[in-house]
Amino acid sequence: MLICIPEVLSKQKVAQFREAMANADWEDGRSTAGSQSSLVKNNLQLPQDGRAARELGDELLDALATSPMFVSAALPLKIFPPLFNRYGAGHGFGLHVDNAIRGVPKTSVRIRTDLSVTLFLSEPEEYDGGELVIEDRVGQQELKLAAGDLVLYPSTSLHLVREVTRGERLASFFWLQSMIRDNVARALVFDLDQAIQSLSARLGPADPACVRLTAVYHNLIRTWAEA
């Protein structure tokens, strides 16, 4: 399941984020890369324990918590503190898979990376190249979303960021552990939720079929969820 969610951050918020990022110190992006991906990663990152990354990260998490589409699709249990990166001309990130388990630095918190998220902070016309390319067995998806939009996709996929050939690409990225580990099961619960939301709006939430479907929804989560 790959889902794009528009306008997670307003344009005004995006501008605030970019201002904070412009004034921050940056480091080599390989600081958080695993052994295979450090060979193919070439970009800059805000230091993950730096003030800028933490403040912006918290603000981003607040925005995500109010996005019904994000919560419904991801069913987040634990979210890794968001990271922020910058690709200038010549930067890219070759084909890799995200580490299965990530420890949050300076804490005992560990997360299993079920889902990966990229939130775009530059508009597509500000840079050439820089597409996020996600591969599956039948081909690839190329993404270059508007600033403020995000894409959520299973961390199991191989993916890359094409080399930027002009301008600058700013983004935030992070991983999360979902309450529902299995991609197929999570997609089912998401579809069910979407159908219930739509039917409730049309028939009223007290409609007996909507009430029963809501019970099925919660009981499916009860069946599959880790909490």
Binding site: V184, L188, A195, L203, R212, V216, N219
Partner: protein, 227 residues
């Protein structure tokens, strides 16, 4: 799972079954009791390999497999040939759970007994006592429905037939292996199906939300189903 299926067998079919049963030879019902349940079973049974038992059994299965409520609730994979029993005054079947595995001596087929079902062939005013009592998640439930009705229950739940104190109680009982092994999972799918059946005439079969729900239904069966 505990489901009452009204009119699983039409009244004229009930009469046909009873005529055939009245003319048949009966044996002690202990012949199909397990090691654990043989002690507490006191009733009569049509010999499982007799022509009349097989013939009526086939006819009953035809009716059940054409019944959407039965099929939607049981999601049957393999059904053991139905058996037919008769309780006279003083007969009973004490609390027991059904054997987990049943082999059919005639065909050698083996099934895992997920669900049991009782089809009532006597009307309630023909006998006193003889209630089917099933322990469910929310307590014990008693059934004494009209002839032709069927009660479907988890074979693993404790159940009994209360002593008959007057008259004769005729019934058929079946065991089946469901495509969905787990009771709670099957219950969820059954509820989802019932909601879809409820919504279909109201919003139309080609409604996008209904199609999404139908997709979830089939994907849940794909997720959990054995075939």
């Amino acid at each position: 799972m505990l489901v009452h299926v009204p009119r699983a067998l039409a009244k004229d079919e009930v009469a046909y079954f009873r005529d055939a049963m009245a003319a048949a030879r009966w044996e002690d019902g202990a012949s199909t009791g397990g090691a654990n349940s043989g002690f507490v079973k006191k009733n009569e049974q049509l010999p499982p390999d007799s022509e009349v038992s097989r013939k009526l059994g086939g006819r009953l299965l035809g009716a059940l497999l054409a019944n959407p409520t039965f099929v939607g609730a049981a999601i049957p994979l393999r059904i053991f040939p139905p058996l037919f029993n008769r309780y006279h005054e003083g007969d009973h079947f004490d609390p027991h759970v059904d054997n987990a595995i049943r082999g059919d001596p005639l065909t050698g087929a083996r099934i895992r007994v997920d669900l049991g079902a009782t089809l009532f062939l006597s009307d309630p005013d023909e006998y006193d006592g003889g209630d089917l009592v099933v322990d469910d998640l929310y307590g014990s439930r008693q059934f004494k429905p009209p002839a032709g009705d069927l009660v479907l229950y988890a074979a693993g739940s404790l159940h009994m037939v209360a002593p008959v104190t007057r008259g004769v109680r005729l019934a058929s009982f079946i065991w089946l292996q469901s495509m969905i092994r787990h009771d709670e999972a099957r219950g969820l799918i059954c509820d989802l199906d019932a909601s879809i059946q409820d919504l279909a005439p109201r919003v139309g079969r080609d409604d996008p939300d209904l199609r999404k729900l139908a997709g979830v239904y089939h994907n849940l069966i794909r997720y959990w189903g054995e075939a």
